[in-house]
Symmetry: C2
Subunit: 193 residues, 2 copies
Amino acid sequence: MARPRQFDEQDAVSTATDVFWRRGYHATSVRDLGAELHLTPSSLYRTFTDKHTLFLRALDHYRATETVQAQRLLASTGRPIREVLREWMVWLVTCQSGEEPGRGCFVVNTTTELGGGDVEVRRRIEASFEVTRESLRSLLQEGRRTGQLSDGLDIDAAVEMLFTTVLGLRVRERAGHDVAHLTTAIDYALQAL
Amino acid sequence: MARPRQFDEQDAVSTATDVFWRRGYHATSVRDLGAELHLTPSSLYRTFTDKHTLFLRALDHYRATETVQAQRLLASTGRPIREVLREWMVWLVTCQSGEEPGRGCFVVNTTTELGGGDVEVRRRIEASFEVTRESLRSLLQEGRRTGQLSDGLDIDAAVEMLFTTVLGLRVRERAGHDVAHLTTAIDYALQAL
């Protein structure tokens, strides 16, 4: 009996996410995708329409998996807020389990590669960014509510600063910068809260 | 009399920088470059060897021009340090004269597109990054010397934080984020000094 098609598709999208993440959109050809997904170009077109459609599915897949992982790390479960933030940010710039270092963030890489010109891509980038900002916001709100952060903390401004720092960290991880330097930047940014 | 070859080359490198900056390395074909530079592929190969060599020259050209502009903005000439830093950072995320918005930074775009794998590219990326870090460092040192910044300021740590913020800002400018939000992030980061 053939494997159910749904299963194969999820598997293929996951592999495609890896390929696009490592190489970027333009450097990945349909031929590359076919080789990695073990699909002929015609099966690939039949299942995923075209490279662009598969890329959008890869971005959706990344958000569904990476973001969930980040949100789990950002769930405070009663631990000190600064400690939660620090661990999450260090995790972002550390080689993640099973991944080679220097991959950066698929969403950040896509942002700088494709810019704002592709509406469907941009919508997905902003949705991912918003998840990060929302997680930061609720953590800072909790910190203020529990008295760990000052009553006078401007949460919107702090979210803007931390979110900007996070994007910079992802660029630096992609550039292969030393984790010690990145941790110094993280600690300085958190000190500002 | 033909124009001197040196002049044409500089002109062509400048145009190539624009093309690579807007589109990225992989999305730019030799055919695109030929069209923009008004060169046949064979003249292009004769003058610049190959796409990769021309790309390296574009990175050098960018460093020579953009970085000089940034350094001029970062020269304090007696103005308050925080004001100099703020103006420079706002300049980085504002549409620069004669350029369309959302281009980001050619060096940051290159970092995320190509990662750490290309040694010659990486060397140029790090040289550009180092110029930025050095400018930040001397400005902070001046701020400490003149009493505008606290004696206890950890300059190395502050440079790491500000440099990371700058990279994040360039990603956000590329993503088309609102200048008001970016300015909020800048002000928050500077408040941390």
